[in-house]
């Protein structure tokens, strides 16, 4: 049966090749869009790691002329040669930030105040790379104060968050998320392990030690792929003149606090530091803004591809319909020789299935090339597999739907009338 269908398809290869190309292109478009959608859904289901309700973030800008840089990339080693520390006034700034935090703490609505370098949903990103037992691990990172875990509602799974205990440590205490801990130490308890920052050259003193493991911290929010994350401790009373102070404040307020709190908090900060600029935002609102940015490309792609598919569906129906009208005589002959309506319909739909299958086989062959181009570093093979499966189902459904109407029409051919033209 299949072989017979293949032969029929082959006999009309000139017009069939175009149909196959059309199905192939639609399939590729569909895979692109579903991959993005499945990727988002898959990410959305995973835990975020922090609370969003009842939290405000306030960023501090110290230069009235705006942020000092768009992006700063640095290689694995910023300072190969030993040099004198540069005093940029960080110690003083740190003390002033500590003052601001105390001023906020005095407000009745405030439950906890913490400071960090990178906060959820912000566009600031810090990335680094570390080598443990010969394997490289990439991670996003932030620096945070001792109160950060409490203010953000982070879930500590093992060990502890930073505290005064770390004050005298000769190592650099770090907290990692479970994913990074598992990746670095698959068969050991990560708490208490030393990891050394990949710094060739003389500055080897920065030995990091994992003091705690948190469940998760997905800085970019629900739709981003979960990634490795590492926190280092930022002390506001740090005597190191070179460590930049954290410029983002995180405030947990009592449930039921209204927006009026924000004005009072910002006014209080402005009064304390008239030279600085403060930007307050409820984390719920940052989430909304960030989600809109994530969803915009998906909705644009979805709308465009939906129209594309409608167009293809209409075109395909039209073309198949024309083919049926051209083949009236052939169909009439088969009917005269005793083929039933079902037989005819089966043949026509079968031909379309064969064509779709050819297109899909070629499509899948093309599609599997993409992961080789390093897509899997972001999208997991499972997500990719599911999207290809969904696309296959959709494309078969589409082509069958397009074949159905012409096939019904063909089966309505009366043998006598069809043969009259012969």
């Amino acid at each position: 049966m299949t072989r017979h269908l293949l032969k029929l398809v082959w006999n009309r290869k000139r017009s069939n090749v175009l149909i196959a190309v059309e199905i192939l292109l639609s399939f590729i478009v569909l895979v692109g869009v579903t991959t993005l959608a499945v990727f988002y859904v898959d990410n959305y289901r995973k835990p975020l790691g922090y609370d969003v309700e009842n939290i405000w973030t306030i960023s501090i800008e110290q230069h009235a002329a705006g942020r000092t840089s768009l992006t700063v990339e640095s290689g694995p080693d910023d300072a190969a040669a030993p040099r004198a520390p540069v005093d940029r006034g960080y110690v003083g700034q740190r003390a002033r930030i500590a003052q601001l935090m105390m001023a906020l703490q005095d407000m009745p609505e405030v439950q906890a105040v913490a400071a960090a370098v990178v906060t959820p949903y912000s566009s600031t990103t810090m990335n680094s790379d570390i080598e443990v037992n010969g394997r490289h691990h990439r991670y996003g990172m932030s620096e945070a104060t001792d109160d950060f875990a409490g203010a953000m509602g982070l879930e500590v799974m093992g060990g502890r968050w930073f505290s005064r205990e770390d004050d005298g440590a000769v190592w650099k205490p770090v907290v990692v998320n479970e994913r990074l801990a598992r990746e670095m130490f698959p068969d050991k308890d990560p708490v208490g392990q030393f990891v050394t920052e990949d710094e060739p050259g003389p500055r080897r003193e920065s030995r990091m030690r994992i003091v705690g493991v948190i469940r998760e911290f997905r800085k970019d929010g629900e739709y981003a792929a979960p990634e490795n994350f590492l926190f280092t401790r930022n002390r506001l009373d740090d005597p190191n003149v070179e460590a930049a102070p954290p410029r983002e404040l995180v405030i947990r307020v009592r449930p039921g606090t209204t927006a009026a709190f924000e004005e009072r908090a910002v006014t209080r900060l402005r009064d304390a530091e008239p030279e600085w600029t403060f930007q307050a935002e409820p984390l719920v609102q940052s989430r909304e803004t960030s989600q809109r940015l994530w969803l915009a490309p998906l909705s644009a792609a979805a709308i465009i591809s939906m129209f594309l598919l409608v167009m293809v569906a209409m075109g395909l129906t039209g073309v198949l319909w024309l083919h049926v009208t051209q083949r009236t005589r052939e169909i009439g002959l088969r009917r005269a020789k005793g083929a039933t309506v079902i037989n005819i319909q089966r043949q026509l739909v079968g031909e379309v299935v064969v064509l779709t299958s050819i297109a899909c086989i070629v499509g899948v062959a093309i599609i599997v090339q993409f992961p080789l181009l390093d897509v899997f570093s972001v999208v997991s093979p499972m997500v990719y597999g599911i999207s290809v499966a969904i696309s296959l189902v959709c494309i078969y459904a589409l082509s069958l739907a397009c074949a159905w109407m012409p096939a019904r029409m063909a089966s309505g051919v009366a043998p006598a009338e069809a043969l009259r033209y012969e």
Partner: protein, 413 residues
């Protein structure tokens, strides 16, 4: 002759309404997507008001310090532009502006979030804002650090509920400004001209920016003519090479004068240690994306037309039998396709205008005003015409060379 072709084309299109609808839908939809995409690009880059002198303007938008191991990329600092980009031969004026900063005002318990852009007085001379009220601040205002501001129409509505605003004061970021001018809204994606509040540079809370080499500022160099661009770029480049670098790790600094498009292309496509921007690569990506997108509708159109021509084999046969030449037959099909494409084009044009209006009204991009790009519309229509002719005329031509008897039998294979 042409009249009868047109009449025929009209009749043929009406005879098979379903197929006409599919073709029109395809042409129309493809054009709409191309138009919207190009309108967004226009909104980002094209010389729209107030950047009317864009053909004579070079910008300074990026500075990069590189060392053996590290790279630091940012906007240029105030000092870099102020000290090294002034008095270049062929440059009429230099304007400096700070990257906009989000500032908050609280009015009756409501928060008003605005972008404040601090600029010098030349900014108003390089750009051509059409003032709704009042005028720009002057060199004197900038020198004195006067707390005066130009605001856009939306900000006027937010603070004062409508005109007149000049002379009234408002608070932003704990500072009190007096309004001296009101300008129309500029799309928030227009890096050079966007802003809710424009204030003198000297109203910054500190003057530390004056000593900074990197970060936070953009420069606009208004050349006397486009012909001077090369000389200006070269001179600036050689001056930047003499800048003493403050951090030892860095050995090289670049801060080119370039168009906004070059800047974006440079951000996207230049390697870490490549100084040159690659606008042609960004162009290639944009054109490739548009062509790739048009591929599916094109295949659809070709497919449909190829199949339909078979349907008309007997018609061609009859005409041939009565002595029509191949050329006349092809002529008829050309006219048919032209009519179809033009109707589709007209529908696409109207629909694009509606979609763009809806997009503007949706406020998805604050203040953006999306307009039709006629050039891209022409290209899109040309593309549709090309595929229409290819798919309609080629089979018709083949068919027209068939023997009339065969054609009459409908035996075209």
């Amino acid at each position: 002759m042409l009249q009868s072709y047109l009449k025929l084309a009209w009749k043929v299109l009406w005879r098979r309404k379903f197929f006409t609808a599919i073709s029109l839908f395809g042409i129309c939809f493809t054009l709409v997507v191309l138009m919207v995409a190009s309108s967004v690009l226009d909104h980002l880059f094209a010389p729209q008001a107030p950047e009317v002198r864009q053909d004579r303007t070079l910008g300074m938008f990026r500075a990069r310090m590189t060392g053996e191991r590290s790279t630091s990329t940012s906007m240029p600092g105030y000092m870099l532009i102020d000290r090294y980009a002034r008095n270049l031969a062929g440059v009429e004026r230099v304007a400096v502006f700070a990257m906009p900063q989000t500032v908050y005002s609280y009015k009756d318990g409501q928060r008003i979030k605005s972008l404040i852009k601090r600029t010098d007085a030349d900014y108003w001379r390089v750009l051509d804002f059409q003032f709704l009220e009042g005028g720009p601040f002057t060199d004197q205002d900038v020198a004195n650090g006067a707390f005066v501001a130009v605001i856009n129409a939306t900000t006027r509505d937010r603070f004062f509920g409508g005109p007149p605003a000049v002379g009234r004061t408002f608070e932003a970021d704990g500072l009190r400004f007096r309004v001296i001018g009101v300008v129309p809204d500029v799309g928030v994606l227009r890096l050079v001209a966007n802003g809710d509040i424009y204030a003198p540079l000297t109203t910054s809370k500190t003057d530390s920016y004056k000593r900074e080499l990197m970060g936070g500022f953009g420069g606009l160099l208004l050349a006397k003519s486009t012909a001077d661009f090369f000389a200006i770029k070269t001179e600036l480049e050689s001056r930047i090479r003499t800048v003493p670098l403050p951090v030892k790790d860095f050995t090289k600094l670049i801060a080119p004068a370039e168009s906004l498009f070059d800047f974006v292309a440079g951000n996207l496509f230049s390697g870490r240690n490549e100084d040159r921007s690659h606008p042609e690569r960004l162009w290639a990506v944009i054109v490739a994306a548009m062509l790739l997108f048009s591929l599916l509708p094109a295949v659809n159109l070709v497919n449909l037309n190829m199949s339909r021509i078979m349907e008309r084999a007997s018609e061609i046969g009859v005409r041939k039998a009565f002595g029509a030449s191949s050329r006349t037959l092809v002529g008829q099909f050309v006219v048919e396709n032209l009519v179809l494409t033009l109707i589709g084009g007209a529908a696409g044009f109207v629909l694009s205008a509606l979609v763009l209006r809806a997009l503007t009204a949706s406020g998805l991009v604050p203040y953006a005003h999306f307009t039709l790009n006629y050039r891209v519309f022409g290209y899109g229509l040309g593309l549709a015409l090309f595929f229409g002719l290819l798919s309609g005329v080629y089979p018709a031509w083949r068919m027209s060379r068939l023997h009339p008897v065969q054609a009459l039998k409908g035996a075209a294979r």
